[in-house]
């Protein structure tokens, strides 16, 4: 289950999209999210869908892999589709079956909303699938740079993010160890009524918290000894590199916006 889930996962690769600057990709996704709402007729949604498939194609992620990995999202998608289908009561009545009545406008809305949802999920997945978490953090740090002026601790936020990301596998391992240790002492998390199961989680969480605090303290010491004094006067090892492809991607997005305006009803 967890292995198949691709939401928020990074798959290393070597495509145009993989090589793009994280700043460009993040900007692209945010602008795209806004642009999606420009489309309001069949032409617009067709263009959006085509554009999204083009991006997926460029990222060299197999469509089958993407669809398979986003299965849980499709359940939500189908749910919203039927919600619109059954509850919009405008336009001509297409057919009725007992108490179920489907109107033309309902069908239209259902399809459009589903496409909108689908392209948003696809584009954001392409971002996380082609960009390592640490690059995303770097990109966010630079993009939020201007907010330093209003005293937003941008560097600290980015460092917190990257340290959290770095410790996820460590703490996962730790959880596994504690789980086994508690199971060896007769704790049973997998069965029993809900109330019992929730209670059984407590002896798992407490040791985890204790060790996380210990780790945090050690890490703070190690950072201090290695000369960490906050963001000021620091240089960066990982450099971001804005290239032609990054500018082109934003130009492409501008083209998309123009096309959507043109076909807008």
């Amino acid at each position: 289950m967890m292995e198949k889930m691709i939401f928020g996962r990074f798959i290393p690769g070597d495509s145009v999209v993989h090589r793009m600057d994280p700043r460009a990709k993040i900007l692209f996704v945010f602008l795209f999210i806004a642009i999606v709402f420009v489309a309001n007729n069949a032409w617009g949604y067709a263009i959006l869908l085509g554009f999204t498939l083009l991006v997926v194609f460029l990222s060299k992620i197999r469509l089958y892999f993407l669809i398979n990995g986003l299965k849980p999202v499709f359940i939500l998608l189908i749910f919203t589709f039927f919600l619109h289908l059954f509850f919009t009561r405008e336009g001509d009545l297409l057919f009725s079956f007992g108490f179920i009545e489907v109107y033309e406008e309902g069908l239209r809305q259902g399809i459009f909303i589903s496409i909108r949802f689908l392209v948003l999920v696809f584009i954001t997945s392409v971002l996380t699938l082609t960009t390592s978490p640490i690059s995303i953090t770097d990109g966010i740090e630079v993009l939020l740079g201007p907010f330093k002026k209003i005293k937003l601790p941008v560097h600290e936020l980015a460092l917190m993010m990257s340290i959290s990301l770095r410790f996820i596998p460590t703490l996962m391992d730790e959880t596994g160890k504690i789980l086994k240790a508690q199971m060896a002492r007769g704790s049973d998390i997998g069965s029993g009524p809900m109330k019992e199961r929730v209670k059984a989680v407590v002896p798992l969480l407490i040791p985890l918290f204790v060790s996380a605090f210990k780790r945090a303290e050690d890490l703070a010491t190690a950072m201090e000894v290695r000369g960490y004094r906050g963001g000021e006067g620091r240089t960066r090892y990982r450099q971001l590199n804005w290239q032609l492809a990054d500018t082109l991607s934003l130009v492409l997005l501008a083209g998309l916006t123009a096309a959507l305006w043109y076909f807008r009803a």
Partner: protein, 282 residues
């Protein structure tokens, strides 16, 4: 060559305790370390050796006495200068890995000290090749063994080209193979660069490799001397809760059993050497 790199002058430190006065963690300790030495600071739990480590890098300041590093007295003002020339490796391999990948972690101290990017790339490469971890530069920490993580931590310290490397129980959480890797790395570094190393440990096997040993007990300096001199005080060490190296224990047991060995042996090789000579004599 023989210049002093670190010294403790009558240093006393007591932790603040909520429930009344406690015994000083470090009491009136003095010693001096010269450039290019390999020093082992040994002691049982509660001997004050970890406090000494913290006094060396300014995580703690002494209540009495002076700590001098590179000729400067440790104080709030000199602290960051001193730290940029002093590398330190801690006990837990996981809890000192800051970067997302090996090369990011090695670059961390360089970033903190505002080293320009071009120099950083060169230094990271150099440091990783010194600990033979170049092939792992894009690896994430959870894909490395404990020994490899400690080697990365050493590289992280070396990237700053320190004058002094302090290993604070750096091998105590490793399996025997990881421990060998780390000790071998230090030995090679010493040969190629003559780096001054202080290793704080309770493992006398590791201490035996040093040029000089300082033995701590109950916050006081108990003994100081070459490994041979210190280990000759066998029973004193075991009384303090320290384990003698295997070869030494073996030598003592053989002597008790009536095998007339001539010397004290700190390494297995030398013991074996004398044993087969002994056999051919007999």
């Amino acid at each position: 060559m023989n210049s002093e790199i670190l010294s403790f002058e009558n240093v006393t430190f007591t932790y603040n305790a909520e429930d009344g006065p406690v015994r000083p963690a470090v009491a009136d300790v003095s010693f001096s370390i010269q450039q290019g030495e390999w020093i082992a600071l040994v002691g049982h739990n509660g001997s004050g050796k970890s406090t000494i480590a913290k006094l060396m890098n300014g995580l703690l300041f002494p209540n009495k006495g002076k700590v001098k590093v590179f000729g400067q007295e440790m104080s709030e003002e000199t602290l960051w200068d001193i730290r940029s020339d002093l590398g330190m490796v801690f006990q837990n391999p996981d809890n000192q890995f800051v970067g997302a990948t090996v090369q990011d972690d090695v670059a961390f101290a360089l970033e903190n000290n505002g080293v320009p990017h071009a120099v950083m790339v060169e230094r990271v490469h150099e440091a990783l090749s010194q600990v033979k971890m170049e092939d792992y530069k894009d690896h994430e920490p959870h894909h490395l063994s404990g020994g490899q993580k400690q080697r990365v931590a050493i590289a992280g310290a070396l990237a700053m080209r320190p004058k002094l490397l302090i290993l604070d129980e750096a091998t105590s959480m490793l399996d025997p193979q990881g421990r060998m890797e780390v000790i071998e790395t230090i030995r090679r570094l010493r040969e190629s660069t003559g780096l001054t190393v202080i290793s704080i440990t309770h493992d006398l096997e590791e201490a035996a490799l040093a040029e000089r040993i300082i033995v701590m007990n109950l916050g006081q300096k108990n003994m100081e001397g070459t490994p041979a001199a210190v280990f000759s005080q066998g029973s004193k060490l075991t009384d303090m809760g320290l384990d003698l190296p295997f070869a030494m224990r073996m030598t003592h047991l053989l002597q008790e059993a009536g095998v007339g060995l001539q010397e004290e042996h700190m390494t297995e090789d030398k013991l074996v050497d004398e044993l087969w000579k002994y056999y051919s004599k007999a």
